[in-house]
Amino acid sequence: MLNARFGPMGAAIGPYLKGGPLRRALEGQTVLDASWALASRGGGRFDREFMIGATVPQVVAWLGGTAVGVLGGDFVGDPERLGLDAIFPAFFLVLLMEELRGGRSAITVALIAAVLALLLVPHAPPGVPVIAACAAALLGLRRAS
């Protein structure tokens, strides 16, 4: 459920990947939140090489970090004590601020999405609030017509 967000993310970047269906399917595997967001060039455009390039070191660090965490996690103690849990939302916030420079409709959509997600968190299973918030992007229909 949590990973259903990769559906719309993949659709967004789809036009920028190369090759036939199989190659696209493989390249689609490199969609991670952070790489996807960093590769976004505004106005719905994406930088394919940048996303794949950003994903490869992440996967290595992720797997390596997981192994280190499993084997030696006790040494670090509570990650919350170090404030590490604040890093992810702060990082997404950095990327969001970049997107908001895209103009008024981006700001409106972001506000609607944020409110939708907040309203849904107490009532829906994890992952659903983020997916449902994508509906805010449908505002683009009004702008384009």
């Binding site: 890093i87 969001l96 992007a137 683009g140």
Partner: protein, 102 residues
């Protein structure tokens, strides 16, 4: 133990299928303007939702804790045009500081 690994495998396969579906279905076609207008707004919508759920969501409830304070400090830093790494560091540092002395 086997059930756990089978579940992990199933989730991994489902995840790969979800990730593949977008690029395969959309293909290399130029999208009609209405569709690309919606798609260009997916990034701010997804990011805004990720920010609020990561900041305030905790096991299906909304919380206002040290983490939110840290993210707030990062937001102020970004508005003051602080570099990205400084803002992210401030988020973690604030949360850690308030937890230590709050």
């Amino acid at each position: 133990m086997t059930t756990l690994w089978l579940t992990i495998l199933a989730v991994a396969l489902a995840n790969a299928a979800i990730k593949a579906s977008g690029p395969v279905l959309v293909g290399g076609k130029e999208l009609p303007p209405r569709a690309s207008a919606v798609i260009s707004l997916l990034a701010p919508a997804l990011l805004a939702a990720l920010v609020v759920t990561e900041t305030f969501g905790e096991d299906g409830t909304l919380v206002l804790d040290e983490k939110a304070l840290g993210v707030g400090v990062a937001a102020v830093a970004l508005l003051l045009r602080a570099p990205v790494l400084v803002a992210v560091f401030l988020a973690a540092f604030t949360a850690a500081l308030v937890r230590a002395f709050g």
